[in-house]
Symmetry: C2
Subunit: 436 residues, 2 copies
């Protein structure tokens, strides 16, 4: 078998067998197949696509390129959630303790933020001392102790994905449903889970702006997961505006704690409880999603979820006092307000721009090597459909460095679309459910 | 400007500007842009294509990546011919001396054989002592002395093409009309010519098997050349069976000399004279192609072309005595015959298989690094349309090593298609002329 022939086959829209995909991906991971051949193949895949069998094969080969964890020593089902990312999307911090408190195990391997989206690992690192770089042994230990652990991708987990992702990033082969699916699913299935709930974002703040694209990605991921023997459901959820009121790191931790205390904004609370409900149901903890929702609400109302969050922080070396003293989280020195220049109604937002503005102020990354300022954040005072008066506050900016402040303010102000009347149709947050 | 954005643009079927193409190709040639980005871009180009402006820009950027020769010290027009390659295609060895004898200058930078096709440089090297690796200074000297010189691509000529071609070879991005055109034209126009005659092969022994594909390549090359201010014409010629009776190196030199002596097979003689005629006409040596043809015939009839060939061999260090004593060319130790297993008519050949069989016996390359046995050759006794008796000779094989002889014989025998009657339509060798 020769790489050059397999590149040609995909170039000519052919279907690759499992053996051929294995030859390419394993060879590349080992270093036998050079970057340039993988780059040519990835571009051919990007343009020509893969069918479902190829996709399952690619996912499995990437999955088995490294260790696939098992947690046989931990009784009960292991479940996880993955979100395709957006602005203010902090549900992992809320649902992991809810679901662990409810009796399931959540072995969560997360990512970092890039571009306009935030990442769970970065948010957790806003908590002083919190260590996301656990070894697999430490990961297993924390998981056994408290039923949840949140870490970054280790060298042992899907090394093929790590290497291929880095190459995709520099060869413009990122935004492809098949390649995204294989990347996500190979990492998630390596966690050793029985069930996975996918939160596939759609709208102006998501990678997939069009709902039909999000649905296609969700369908492909659900089918791939199911073919590999896992229970998988995908919720298509709106990302036309930030989730909750807060974006940034310290203030997303703060807002997550608010929800765990039974407070916080309704959209964030609802989505976190619904995702938890599906995790309980798929993890066979409850007989129905509705019962799962009631269990999730109970975990919050009784304070058990908050207690679990405290325990998780402590076990990963973090300062659990942030739960009651949010001022222990990194705080920005300055505040600025963006106010409305018109009176009327908010009819839409260009949500991605909020994330870009946040990154610009130091609260996100433009390149992988960039350091994050955890104190930087945005607080949103208006939602789509709200009325607004000229001069009324739209966004509070928490910042430390004003080098790019003017640019960020312009981006934020320009991101709001207003009209003379409220939008006629009120769109729900959960648009559809795939694979249920 | 960033390579990753230009890759994305082509991936999404966008048109690249001249500056963008220059950025990519110059950056790659300098080593600033890595192989993997160029590979991804080449695959995107292969699949999405280029329009005519992009193609001219790519050709020019590749052309000016190195030295573009001028021959201001040599009076008169400089002309050349390029063939897309086939089996037994030795017209360069015949027409270069004809055209130089007729008063034009032929600065010919040629290639080597790869796969089933032969290369002019390899054929010349069958002549003991013949040096194709002249420096540019030596090249100019030979050209001034005798009006023709045949050398290989030097490091100074189109280095971008050299580097990109090597990458295309290992990333399955070779067979693309735009990329083929840019590669050929950038090298040919670097020779410092005023006019170029293209011999675009079509049929079972050509790279382009379908005539419409050959025509498209011809049109693109003619237009690119004309846009760059050159006179260019393309002849679409049949390669459904070998050209002439001989394939291999020593015996193609022998057969070329036969034609220069006014003998040799009719198809080879006719095509060589017609290509020469077009070179005379485009080089403004004659008023018409017909007059060019008469001049070419005269150069052969008077022995002036043969004398020019002798002179050229001598000036490039070769043993000119091969012209009269062909036994001075490397001779194979053994002969084998392939005979017909049926009686009937030859209706077609799978011509590429002859070239593959020749390479298998050592008379061609499978990889670039392979050494060539110049003595190995095939002699064809039957042409399409000929009647054949069972047991009658089809091909004589000249060989030195019988390791793959049985396999080669099978390939050769299996390449003939016969029937009970002669093919009804007799196809002409020159199918059409593009750009006249």
């Amino acid at each position: 078998m020769r790489a050059v022939d397999l590149i040609r086959k995909k170039r000519d829209s052919g279907e690759l067998s499992r053996e051929e995909i294995e030859f390419l991906v394993s060879g590349y991971t080992r270093g036998d197949i050079p970057d340039y051949q993988m780059a040519a193949w990835l571009m051919a895949v990007w343009i020509r696509g893969m069918n479902r069998s190829e996709l399952v094969a690619l996912t499995e080969v990437m999955l088995y390129s490294g260790q696939v964890l098992t947690h046989a020593d931990i009784p009960g089902k292991k479940v996880d959630k993955h979100s395709t990312g957006g602005v203010g999307d902090k549900t992992s911090l809320i649902l992991a303790p809810i679901v662990a408190a409810g009796g399931l195990t959540v072995p969560m391997i997360s990512g970092r933020g890039l571009g306009h989206t935030g990442g769970t690992l970065d948010k957790l690192e806003a908590i002083p001392g919190f260590n996301v770089n656990l070894s697999l042994e430490e990961f297993r230990h924390v998981l056994r102790e408290c039923g949840m652990a949140l870490i970054g991708q280790t060298a042992e987990i899907a090394p093929a994905d790590k290497k291929i992702y880095a190459l995709r990033d520099v060869t413009s082969t990122v935004e492809n449903i098949g390649l995204i699916c294989a990347s996500i699913m190979s990492k998630k299935l390596a966690e050793g889970i029985d069930a996975l709930v996918l939160d596939v974002k759609t709208g102006s703040g998501a990678f997939m702006k069009k709902e039909e694209e999000s649905v296609r990605l969700a369908e492909v991921m659900v089918e791939t997961g199911k073919r590999m023997g896992k229970k998988v459901v995908a919720l298509i959820t709106g990302m036309d505006e930030p989730l909750g009121r807060m974006a940034g790191h310290s203030n997303e931790v703060f807002e997550s704690v608010e929800v765990l205390k039974g407070r916080g904004p309704a959209d964030l609370r609802d989505l976190s409880l619904d995702l938890s409900a599906w995790m309980f149901f798929l993890g066979e903890r409850t007989e129905s999603v509705e019962e799962g929702r009631r269990l999730a609400e109970t975990m919050v109302a009784t304070g058990q979820a908050l207690e679990k969050f405290r325990e998780g922080i402590r076990l990963q070396g973090g300062d659990e006092r942030v739960v009651d003293a949010p001022e222990r989280l990194p705080q920005a020195r300055f505040r600025a307000e963006v106010v409305s220049s018109v009176s009327g109604y908010i009819t839409a937002t260009n949500c991605e721009q909020f994330g870009t503005a946040l990154a610009m102020l130091g609260g996100g990354r433009e390149k992988k090597e960039d350091k994050i300022d955890h104190a930087v954040g945005l607080e949103f005072h208006k939602r789509i459909g709200d009325s607004v008066e000229k001069g009324e506050k739209l966004v509070t900016i928490y910042y430390n460095n004003d080098v790019k402040l003017a640019e960020a303010k312009t981006l934020i102000a320009g991101s709001y679309v207003s009209g003379q009347s409220a939008p006629s149709e009120k769109r729900v947050l959960i648009r559809s459910i795939i694979g249920a």
